[in-house]
């Protein structure tokens, strides 16, 4: 059964002030209703005025996503009632959005972007005495109300959750490279997803916050729809809500009453002409695709690894480059980032930015391996402690009293001793029995308490028995 998914992504733009008033957007950790004014609270008589920076940022995003930017745009009132909406209409864009017809390539496939537009964020609601379906009342904090949102709408081009994940990751990295988005902020990225099985009705899941939840919500919804089909039931056209705690989706409202947004032109604002010279005046930084190319060329690392590093997030790519300044074995660097570092970050559910991993300490770890002071296997153990704590790898080695092989000479001594003690095995090896080699390696490893690198040991045995 083919799955069709289309998504709408809302991201907070990194302006200092809100979209239509001069209140600060720095809402995290603030007292409720501290960053509000009569404009973003929609008090009678207040008037909006658009923040030019938000449009600049929108243009940059539209260019990066290969969209056509409309030469003249305007804002519209999208009318619907909800306690998080100060005016019971949202200033958004309708007929002529900022940009249309773009695409983003992931896994060798183009995901089409239908439109990009700007709008104001509503408030944050706290549902008191239950969840959205069972609360007695709500508490509204309008600090978030009016923060510029960039809404990106895709065509229903995704056929798997994996594609959605890849898309969001790359999109986020692009927006970060443009310096218009901070992925570390909670509620900074929210997704509405339309999901259907081929030939069936679609369900819309509203307001999923964060990447991980998007995946969970989609997976749940796909299974739910498949199960319904299996027992011969139809999927109903409806809006669903994702509950992050139970990791499941629930009916929010059936589509029997269609909300009619009754769009009108926002008469308190003017049209905005976007000239070519305006577009050209905005500096386009190096974007992820270009950065991957450069990484391959400049650092001679495999494209697959470069892509992982750059598309996960900008911070990881920056981390790679910061490390590269103090550590020149780029292949080794890339390999360790893509495999063990990422694995550990994911395991701890943190990003590089949130972690205490710093270039200096990470390179220290790599150098321990290079100098043969620790084996790769041991390094894999050390990194598990290093990532969540940020402790110096040398310190970890000392604290754990991990025996390290100080050098090749020391290892040679051990190997020679093993050869002496196992004459029969050595003879077998010389006679071409491969199993004997593993037997000898095992003995060496035992003696070195697994701190020696089996590969090196193997080579040494072969060399010394010739």
């Amino acid at each position: 059964m083919k799955v069709l998914i289309g998504i709408e992504i809302h991201v907070h733009l990194l302006t200092k002030a809100k979209l239509f008033c001069s209140c600060s957007t720095d809402y995290e950790g603030k007292e409720p209703n501290n960053l509000v004014c009569p404009i973003c609270l929609g008090f009678p008589g207040s008037k909006p005025k658009v923040n030019k920076k938000a449009i600049d940022f929108g243009i940059l995003a539209a260019k990066a996503l290969n969209c056509k930017i409309n030469p003249e745009i305007f804002f519209s009132r999208k009318s619907y009632f909800y306690p998080d909406m100060p005016k019971n209409f949202q200033i958004s864009q309708y007929e002529i959005p900022l940009a249309v017809g773009g695409y983003l390539e992931i896994l060798g496939k183009k995901i089409r972007i239908r439109r990009i537009h700007l709008e104001e964020d509503p408030a944050r609601l706290v549902h008191v005495g239950g969840d959205i379906t069972s609360a007695t009342h709500v508490l509204a904090d309008y600090n978030r109300a009016g923060i510029p949102l960039l809404e990106i709408v895709t065509e229903p081009d995704f056929t798997s959750t994996k594609e959605v994940r890849e898309f969001l990751s790359k999109l986020s990295s692009i927006l970060e490279h443009l310096e218009i988005f901070d992925p570390s902020k909670e509620a900074g990225l929210r997704v509405d997803a339309n999901i259907s099985l081929e030939g069936g009705e679609r369900a819309e899941i509203k307001n999923i916050t964060g990447f991980a939840n998007v995946e969970k919500a989609l997976n749940y919804e796909i299974i739910r729809q498949k199960n319904l089909r299996r027992i011969g039931k139809k999927v109903e056209r409806e809006t669903r809500h994702f509950d992050a705690e139970t990791r499941s989706t629930h009916t929010l409202r059936k589509k029997e009453f269609e909300e009619d947004y009754g769009y009108i032109f926002e008469p308190d604002l003017t049209k905005i002409e976007i000239s070519q010279s305006w577009i050209k005046s905005l500096k386009m930084p190096e974007l992820p695709d270009k950065r991957v190319e450069r990484f391959v060329k400049q650092y001679k690392i495999p494209k697959q690894q470069a892509s992982v590093i750059v598309y996960i997030d900008k911070a990881l790519a920056d981390f790679f480059e910061d490390c590269s300044k103090i550590y020149k074995n780029y292949k080794q660097l890339a390999k360790w980032i893509v495999t063990d570092l990422l694995k550990c970050l994911n395991w701890n559910k943190i990003t590089i930015r949130e972690s205490r991993v710093k270039p200096k300490s990470f390179v220290e770890l790599l150098k321990l391996i290079d100098k043969g002071k620790i084996t790769e296997r041991l390094a894999k153990e050390i990194i598990k402690e290093y990532v969540p704590t940020g402790k110096s790898p040398e310190q970890i080695v000392k604290e754990k009293k991990l025996v390290t092989i100080k050098g090749k000479k020391e290892l040679e001594k051990v190997v020679l001793a093993v050869i002496k003690e196992n004459k029969k095995a050595v003879d077998d090896l010389k006679a071409g029995r491969k199993k004997a080699l593993e037997f000898l390696v095992g003995h060496v490893l035992k003696k070195t308490r697994k701190t020696a690198d089996p590969k090196v040991v193997r080579e040494l045995i072969e060399k010394l028995t010739k």
């Binding site: 008037k47 005025k49 009318s79 009754g262 308190d268």
Partner: protein
């Protein structure tokens, strides 16, 4: 007519009158007027904080213009008790020039009407208490006519709400070019049409207050970035005025006696050196439906914010938000507001918006072009302000909504086009005042002030 305002400013300056004495004297007068005619929703007399161009001049403010610390309801129960946390830009400006704010004048709920009907008080016509003052700035015109002390009113017009009451009450009202006066702090009716203007006893008074309140404001995106003007300097006689007289404004529905008076006024201007010519404004009949469709569509979105949560009328939180909001709105809005919410919502609904709302916006373009064409050759357009004299309360009660809307038939077009206009008295029919309406091209306030002044001093 002599300007009491002009005299008063000189007297205060020269110390001939004490401001404190003057204020306590007008307090009594205001109370007396209020008890007989009810022009105010809220009376609150504030001493000036500064000296300036309007030092010591009483200014009344229409209730839909926000005044910090003074209840501002726009005539609606849904905003009862609402105390704005800020002053409208125009209020800030008059305060900055030393005026004495005296209170908030009555109006139709949110400006929806021509009779100043609202949830609180309904002002009575100064010439005949059984008649209406017109609207929606009825309280402003009523008070202006009755005050025997210097006073100018800050009023507002969306589709004729300054000209209509000025005509019905026999005073002067200027509606400036859209965007000339900042709307910041004006409780919206229809944002693309709303204009703050002035009502006074003389052309000079209205021009003086307009000079103070107009000008570019960074807080209003539709505020025009034009150079400040002292409009009082256009209170001068100009004998070389070219007047257009549009035949559509003298049609069937217009009281013949009013037509006669307006023609007399035009001839009078001609005798003073002006030239006139009859013209046609062919889009006139389409202006009224276009105006109403746009105004209602915008109004219905503006009124959405009133839902009993953050300010204004609210009750105990019961039911879910749909139930609670619907209840509050049912109880808080008057009948005309409800009608306009329904019509406005309907006009912008999917499937209908192209035929109603968008069509109306296109008709607006044609109405503007119509005026542009005339103003290429003429300085001003002259017409009657209202088709009838002020109706009696018992007549108004019997009117169907559409009949009430038709009252705006002569004012809808210029308001839709956002051109400046002035209404000034030009005689009486059945002892009730009649308004002469003069209109000019965008930003040509100078021309209507000159023409009006020329007529006024020679009446």
């Amino acid at each position: 007519m002599k300007s009491l305002v002009k005299e008063h400013i000189e007297k205060i300056k020269s110390g001939k009158i004490s401001l404190d004495e003057f204020i306590s004297e007008i307090k009594k007068k205001i109370e007396k007027i209020q008890s007989e005619y009810s022009p105010f929703i809220t009376i609150k007399i504030e001493n000036p904080e500064k000296k300036g161009k309007l030092y010591g001049i009483p200014i009344s403010v229409k209730d839909n213009i926000c005044t910090q610390g003074i209840q501002s309801t726009a005539g609606s129960k849904i905003l009862e008790g609402y105390v704005p946390p800020f002053d409208a830009t125009c209020v800030k400006k008059v305060k900055g020039q030393g005026s004495v704010i005296i209170g908030k004048t009555a109006q139709d709920e949110f400006g929806f009407g021509s009779f100043s009907v609202n949830s609180f008080v309904i002002p009575k016509n100064p010439w005949d208490k059984t008649r209406v003052c017109g609207g929606s700035s009825g309280g402003a015109a009523c008070l202006t006519a009755l005050a025997d002390f210097p006073h100018i009113a800050m009023a507002e017009s969306t589709g004729g709400s300054i000209s209509c009451p000025a005509a019905f009450c026999g005073v002067v009202g200027i509606t400036p070019t859209y965007g000339r006066v900042s709307r910041f702090g004006l409780i919206d009716y229809a944002n693309s049409l709303d204009k703050i203007g002035t009502i006074g006893k003389t052309v000079y008074d209205t021009a003086l207050l307009l000079s103070v309140i107009s000008g570019y404001d960074t807080l209003d995106s539709t505020s025009l970035e034009v150079r400040d003007e002292d409009f009082t300097k256009y209170c001068e006689e100009n004998s070389k005025i070219k007047i257009a007289v549009p035949k559509e404004y003298f049609g069937e529905g217009v009281d013949p006696k009013i037509k006669d008076l307006v023609w007399k006024a035009i001839k009078k201007l001609e005798s003073l050196g002006a030239k006139y010519q009859e013209v046609s404004l062919s889009q006139t009949t389409y202006a009224l439906p276009s105006y109403y469709l746009i105004a209602m569509a915008e109004a219905s979105t503006n009124l959405a914010k009133f839902c009993g949560m953050r300010y204004g009328f609210h009750s105990e939180l019961k039911g879910n938000f749909e139930e609670y909001f619907s209840q509050i709105r049912k109880l808080g809005f008057g009948e005309e507001a409800k009608r306009r919410i329904i019509l406005g919502t309907y006009a912008r609904m999917a499937g209908f918006r192209d035929a109603y709302y968008l069509k109306a916006l296109k008709v607006r373009s044609l109405v503007i072009q119509d005026f542009r064409r005339i103003f290429k050759k003429f300085d001003v357009i002259a017409a009657p302000t209202m088709p009838v004299i002020a109706p009696r309360f018992d007549e108004v009660k019997k009117l169907e909504p559409i009949e009430a809307y038709m009252m705006d038939v002569l004012t809808a077009a210029p308001n839709l086009a956002g051109i400046p206009m002035i209404s000034l008295p030009c005689g009486f029919v059945k002892s009730l005042p009649v308004g002469l309406h003069l209109m000019a091209d965008h930003l040509q306030e100078k021309k209507i002030i000159q023409a009006a002044h020329t007529f006024e001093v020679n009446e």
